[in-house]
């Protein structure tokens, strides 16, 4: 087990290095720099800026500095937001995005699994069709439309919830729903498809013939197997949803991390681009790792190398 973890850890470090390197060169390849602006700057001012931000150094020095700063996790100041360091940006934005992400994730899992299970149990009956229509709507309506409609109906027309901003639970309800819609629908469909298959398996028939109730069969025997693909999906989903969504954070004025992924690229804010990309990759790799460990727990048939047989 420890050998496995160490091996995965080293592989992840290597993956991070590859990601950081690709990001660095892609970032340098896009035209424009942090100081490109509408009103052209005199040469001497540009020079003093390049010098101050060490953009005059040859690429390999800059690249080396970036790798070092990532290794020390001291990501330096933002080019555009001069009072902010990238570390500040991540440490203040990520918790907010993560709280919102957890809310959305919880919503998506809870309703997704229930919706999917119900649909599978009532396969090809009206409950199934209703659930799947909801799921199709969830998948096809873009989150910004859903967000704007929620705002319009719940805040403007009914005056139930605050329009935007962050700080209270009430303010998190609409963004969480808007964020959760797509994954809920996806999880519902995944659960349903697998559940339908699992429910036709022999061991379920055995369980049923033992006289167990529907609920017990589903929860104890069905879900455990039907959820495997859902678990796979959660890895990706968690990394995405916990690091924030640009569009939802923009619409609801939430000071999370999601906005930085897009804004840093628009601004050519080099240090922020590097910082948030590497941070996102770390979260993603960690999530995948945790999910891999979870497999073994959920499905005894999957064995992790080096782990003792259960």
């Amino acid at each position: 087990m420890i050998r496995y973890i160490v091996k995965r850890f080293l592989a992840n470090i290597f993956a991070l290095w590859v990601i950081a390197t690709i990001t660095f060169f892609l970032m340098k390849a896009i035209p424009g720099d942090p100081f490109t602006q509408e009103k052209a700057l005199p040469k001497e001012i540009l020079q003093s800026l390049y010098e101050h931000y060490k953009l005059n150094d040859p690429w390999y020095i800059q690249y080396g500095n970036y790798l070092q700063s990532i290794a020390r996790w001291d990501l330096g100041p933002s080019f555009k937001y001069k009072s902010r360091t990238v570390n500040d940006i991540i440490s203040s934005g990520f918790p907010i995005s993560a709280i919102l992400g957890f809310e959305a994730l919880a919503l998506a899992l809870f309703f997704g699994i229930i919706l999917g299970s119900c649909a599978a149990l009532k396969h090809n009956q009206w409950q199934d069709y209703t659930a799947m229509v909801i799921a199709v709507i969830g998948i096809s309506v873009p989150s910004f439309i859903l967000a704007a409609s929620l705002q319009y109906v719940l805040s403007i027309k009914l005056d139930l919830l605050p329009v935007a901003r962050w700080g209270t639970f009430k303010q998190s309800i609409m963004p969480a729903i808007a964020l959760a819609a797509l994954p809920t629908a996806f999880i519902a469909r995944l659960t349903r498809a697998n559940m339908v298959e699992v429910l036709s398996m022999d061991y379920i028939k055995t369980a049923r013939s033992k006289g167990l109730s529907d609920i017990v069969v589903i929860i104890k025997h069905g879900l455990r197997n039907a959820l495997l693909p859902v678990v796979t999906y959660i890895g990706m989903l968690a990394a995405n949803i916990l690091t924030g969504s640009f569009i939802i954070e923009k619409i609801f004025g939430i000071p999370g991390l999601g906005q930085w992924f897009i804004n840093s690229i628009i601004n050519r804010d080099y240090t922020v681009i590097m910082g948030v990309t590497v941070f996102y990759s770390m979260i993603l790799l960690a999530a995948i790792f945790v999910i891999d460990l979870c497999y073994a727990w959920i499905d005894p048939r999957i064995k992790i190398e080096g782990m003792k047989k259960r």
């Binding site: 896009i30 035209p31 424009g32 720099d33 490109t36 602006q37 509408e38 009103k39 052209a40 700057l41 005199p42 040469k43 001497e44 001012i45 540009l46 003093s48 800026l49 010098e51 101050h52 931000y53 555009k80 937001y81 001069k82 009072s83 902010r84 500040d88 203040s92 934005g93 709280i99 957890f102 809310e103 994730l105 919880a106 919503l107 899992l109 809870f110 704007a148 705002q151 319009y152 805040s155 403007i156 005056d159 605050p162 329009v163 935007a164 901003r165 962050w166 700080g167 209270t168 639970f169 303010q171 998190s172 923009k250 619409i251 609801f252 004025g253 000071p255 906005q259 628009i266 050519r268």
Partner: protein, 536 residues
């Protein structure tokens, strides 16, 4: 398990709830500044958001009044020499928000750091009107040769490179603000957070700066003119979505929406213009010192032909565009310099003169020795944005209708676009220009010299004209303001006659405000002063 986690989160969030309620007796103005201000160090600020907040917190030697004229502020008396090149500022007895005395040294210190060749200040060029400022920034002269002298603690003498009628307007701008020398020398990062080190000298002081979320500024009792300040607090949200801002305004969570801190959502403007019943949803428009135009690459065939350029300009029906496409109060532009205090806008040609355009176009084709069929497809570039796209499509259509030519629309990400324009890799490109100060020079100067690839610049059209340069040079040393204005007008007329740029419209700013908000000074430069604002 997830359910209990969810409940735990709810509990956390409710506990973390800190949303303060608004008390009715206090004068609290709630605004949205759209984004996190990139910096609150006046020396490094370059964007409008930072400038708006800095104007609340700081004050320069002068401050712009409600009549758009600079008024003495930190300076009590201003003496101007006969050649209009030496300004002597006698300062008032004023204090920083921490009680420190503000001296002429604080101004000198701020300006010297900006011009230090190693200090990262994008707007250093705004100080270039000061004698030797550019040479100091280039590292050719030492800091001590800068034309700024501290005669005593309360007297600052500034020598300018040439007479600058708008200098007192510049000194009201953040780049010219003082910085508390004692604090800034001790901690170069003093402006990063709110707290004891963030000291300012303006009508308000910084109470709380929650990054990317909210700024709270409170009345500064140490401000010399504190009795004129009626607001107790300013609450500045950072919501970078115009629709959300509008909804918040509608729901009474904000007292102001739209310009100059943000924009009104373009899709709502036509509706809002129609409604007349609700006072708080009535759009107020005011002119912006800003022009929207197309740059032409005059070095490239076929736009190297003057008649072709002119025909393109005359074939555009600007009236239609502002009435039916942009719909936000813009005015058709047939000149470069927008209306400004003390400047009557020129009318250099007739808008939508399609007959003349057709005629000129045929002559142009003849001069190029080609037929209409041989006329190449033109490329019209703009940065990716729905409003720019709508205008480009309308003009594409108008050119097709009037001249029978094909135009291809191409759009790029903002910085890619700017790089393409500045490397002259374009034929026709959209551009907007906002004045830095109320003087035609702010619009005309950029076209004085054509860019050379070495130094860069703003004139990417490849156009240059000896007479144009000479008018601007003469105007620079002209002390008689009427003669100066005449020279500048001649320059503008020449520029438009040569048509390296096609003016399209002069911008207007629109905003909504609650009927109880009063005393806000708006300037066409996109600057706003809340010093004397009050609620009633």
């Amino acid at each position: 398990m997830f359910r209990s986690l969810f409940l735990a989160l709810i509990a956390c969030l409710i506990a973390a709830c800190t949303d303060g309620e608004r008390s009715a007796s206090k004068q609290v103005l709630r605004l949205n500044i759209f984004t996190e201000p990139p910096t609150l160090d006046s020396r490094k600020a370059t964007d409008s958001t930072s400038a708006h907040v800095l104007l609340m917190l700081f004050e320069g030697l002068t401050r712009i009044g409600d009549d758009h004229q600079p008024k003495p502020a930190v300076a009590e008396k201003i003496l101007i020499s006969k050649d209009q090149r030496t300004y002597t500022f006698i300062l008032r007895e004023t204090h920083w928000s921490n009680g420190d005395k503000l001296t002429a040294e604080d101004f000198l210190y701020a300006w010297q750091t900006i011009l230090d060749p190693h200090f990262p200040a994008l707007f250093a060029y705004k100080l270039y009107v000061i004698e030797n400022a550019q040479e100091v920034k280039e590292g050719k002269l030492p800091l001590s040769s800068l034309g700024v002298k501290v005669l005593d603690k309360k007297t600052l003498e500034v020598t300018l490179r040439y007479p600058t009628p708008y200098f007192l307007e510049l000194t009201a701008f953040p780049t010219f603000f003082p910085v508390n020398k004692k604090i800034a020398q001790k901690n170069p990062e003093w402006a990063s957070e709110s707290g004891a080190e963030y000291v300012s000298n303006g009508p308000f002081k910084l109470l709380k700066w929650q990054h990317e979320s909210e700024i709270i500024a409170v009345k500064n009792s140490a401000y010399w003119d504190a009795q004129a300040v009626k607001l107790d607090q300013l609450h500045l949200s950072m919501i970078d979505d115009t629709t959300t801002e509008f909804y918040m305004y509608e729901m009474g969570e904000l007292d102001w929406a739209g310009s100059p801190l943000s924009n009104l959502p373009p899709e709502f403007i036509p509706e809002l213009k129609k409604q007349t019943t609700q006072e708080d949803l009535r759009i107020h428009f005011y002119p912006a010192a800003a022009v929207y135009y197309y740059k032409l690459n005059t070095l490239q065939y076929p736009l190297n032909n003057l008649k072709i350029r002119k025909s393109l300009a005359y074939a555009i029906n600007r009236h239609n565009i502002v009435e039916h496409i942009t719909q936000a109060g813009q005015k058709p532009a047939t000149a470069l310099v927008p209306p400004m205090p003390g400047w009557q806008v020129s009318n250099c040609f007739k808008d939508g003169n399609t007959e003349h355009a057709k005629h000129l176009f045929l002559e142009g084709l003849h001069e190029l020795g080609i037929t209409l069929e041989q006329f190449p497809r033109l490329k019209l570039s703009y940065n990716t944005n729905r409003e720019h796209q709508k205008i480009a499509q309308a003009i594409q259509h108008q050119w097709k209708e009037t001249l029978g030519i094909e135009v291809e629309l191409v759009h790029f990400d903002w910085k890619v676009y700017l790089t393409k324009i500045s490397s002259q890799d374009y034929q026709i490109g959209r551009m907007g220009w906002i004045g830095d100060f109320h003087d035609p020079v702010s619009f005309l100067e950029p076209y004085k010299f054509r860019n050379d690839p070495e130094t860069g610049g703003n004139n990417d059209t490849g156009w240059e004209h000896p007479d144009y340069i000479s008018y601007l040079v003469q105007a620079q040393s002209e002390l008689d303001l009427i003669k100066r204005a005449h020279l500048l007008r001649k320059a503008e007329e020449l520029l438009i006659a040569e048509m390296p740029i096609i003016p399209i419209y002069f911008a207007e700013n629109g905003y909504l405000k609650k009927p109880y908000v009063h005393g806000v000074y708006l300037s066409s430069l996109g600057v706003v002063d809340f010093k004397k604002a009050y609620l009633e």
